[in-house]
Symmetry: C2
Subunit: 364 residues, 2 copies
């Protein structure tokens, strides 16, 4: 069968191509899916292209190769020479099952766990999400990463004692899910987007606070939205540049405007930005003009779910299944085969991480 492999060689080259590998066998309690749809999420791209300079890529038989700058090789050390299968999640039909899982044969399920850019994948039956009867593979392909991340943001807010959320790159599939979740749950949400078109898109699905970071009055509107919502928690998909710091600055300005008076160390209210993505791979940079009660850090889905506990995780997964075609509907701009996804044209497309441009891999 075919499987997409990403390999970084010791002499500093990325090889991303279709490979032929043996079909996996099912064991007891396991199921074998024929993968029918798998999204390319931003969180897949780090493994797919690593630290390679994709602007220098050239086509090879069955894929592409591209140089890895010397400065990028340190972070790659542990994967040098290893062919890494790619694809975090996907959906497909069960074609074989081990002992105890036979009832799933013929059913459509969604999975997470890697190596989904392939013809087949074997997983534990208990870890798969059984899709509702009639759901298509495309509807089920993005069941885990975006829906659970969006739900995880709201759980993090509750867990850490905040009362509102700021979200960047908010016109993404994930951002649209978050708009719907927050509307349903009564959570004030400030959406930061990068164009007037994206403002219109989010307002059309009911978002209340939508702010265009490319507009000249961005900071003024952001401070006003922080004042209105009391937001002290943000989730940033962009990572690079100054936006995370601007958010902390706006939160602090809103807090100080409410509090009145001058404190030399700034407010005592903790302002938190979690960076959960890297749409902009440039350095993160900020002026520390927001007092001393601030924190910035990484946010990753599964370690968070461990904190929330198994019961909460199961509850969130059930919500995803229940609202699969409403709250958690995903939109794709491109559908590519395994061979097409590693063509130079497609790599340039998905690597650009443009909001509104989302690739779905359809192996067959």
């Amino acid at each position: 069968m075919r499987q997409i492999h990403s390999t970084i060689t010791a002499d500093g080259e990325l090889i991303l191509a279709v490979a032929e590998v043996p079909e996996p066998e099912v064991g007891a309690g396991e199921i074998k899916l024929r993968i029918e749809a798998a999204p390319i999420n931003p969180s897949d791209i780090g493994l797919l292209t690593g630290a390679a300079d994709v602007s220098q890529m050239v086509a090879i038989d069955g894929g592409i190769r591209a140089p890895v700058p010397a400065a990028g090789m340190r972070a790659m050390a542990a994967r040098v020479g290893h062919a890494m299968p790619c694809g975090n999640e996907g959906a497909g039909t069960v074609v074989a099952a081990g002992e105890g899982a036979e009832h799933l044969i013929g059913r459509r399920v969604a999975i997470i766990g890697g190596a989904t850019y392939a013809d087949y994948r074997v997983v534990k039956a208990a870890e798969a999400l059984l899709l509702p009867e009639g759901a298509t593979a495309e509807q089920g392909a993005s069941c885990f990463v975006n829906p659970l991340t969006a739900l995880g943001f709201v759980e993090t807010m509750r867990h850490e004692g905040h009362n509102a959320i700021i979200h960047t790159a908010a016109a993404s599939n994930l951002g649209q899910m978050l708009v719907k979740i927050c509307a349903a749950d009564g959570v004030p949400l400030v959406n930061i987007v990068r164009s007037a078109e994206q403002v219109a898109l989010l307002e059309a699905i009911g978002a209340t606070h939508v702010i265009d970071s490319s507009a000249p009055d961005f900071m003024k509107k952001l401070i006003a939205a922080c004042t209105e919502t009391g937001a002290t928690l943000a989730f940033d998909a962009i990572g690079g540049g100054g936006l995370a710091g601007q958010i902390l600055t706006a939160m602090e300005a809103a807090i100080n405007a409410r509090a009145g008076g001058y404190s030399r160390y700034g407010s005592e209210v903790l302002k938190q930005v979690y960076i959960y993505g890297g749409l902009d791979m440039a350095p993160t940079t900020f002026n520390r003009g927001f007092g001393m009660a601030w924190a910035m850090g990484g946010w990753l889905l599964f370690p968070r779910m461990k904190i929330f506990g198994n019961a909460k995780f199961a509850e969130l997964k059930q919500r995803v299944a229940n609202e699969l075609t409403t709250t958690f509907a995903s939109h794709y701009s491109h559908r590519v085969s395994l061979a097409q996804m590693v063509s130079p044209e497609a790599v340039a497309g998905w690597q650009a991480r443009r909001t509104g441009q989302k690739y779905l891999v359809v192996p067959d």
Copy 2:
């Protein structure tokens, strides 16, 4: 009496000068000190000069004035037009006392709480630290900020489950105290300094790991020190530039070298850098090449002490009193009167925040 005032005017100017104010009166439970010595700590400088461009200062009667760039005025909004007394801490002799505090008259005490660059200060007797008999004002002047901050670092390490500490600008008075505390308490400490002279200074007082960030092999040595100590917690006095991010990168490299294998999201071990100072006021900037389990944030002494609790706070204060002339000895390069401290020459000196150049204000 005289008191140093810092004022930012609405038209964007800093006035830093000696002012004449009425002498404060003592109430019940209060004491009045004649201030005999007060240090200029880096944490005082933000209030003293605000966002002013001190390179443009000019002398005025009793002090200096300097322009505040327009970009800096937003953060100053709450203090515009207010004359701010300065000086976080100091020591002096009790010259008057209210009901219940009469026994302290004639004794020398250390205090914290602001307005110590002055001839006199009234505080609650219960909040003062009674210095040992025979202690000089200079010995007692820096009893709170540096000693409790250094002790607070070690308490934070214990509280948050780390086992070693990295410290920057480590040749400072505070850094030298931390070397002695960690040696006494058996805490592995990695000291980052900025010159070969500072390496020699810290090694002379018994520091084990001292790394010069100006040397070409800095990152290699930092990774080696992280590997040896297992440090996943750092306290950074510098703030600006890339050092905080380099520390996270070194921690992650050490963790991955120990763990072996590649994880696309980096290690799951939380790596924490607290920025507690701003010796470099330039923007903080970092590449996010250290996985997703990282955090950066502000660290402030008194909110931390609230977390540790009153009993711990009292215990730490007692340790400071007990080890005043050993662990917690401070060194000053300049002694200035109230009038001298706001002369252009002295302002240029203390504003530069150079390690090893420390000013002590001696009002009389």
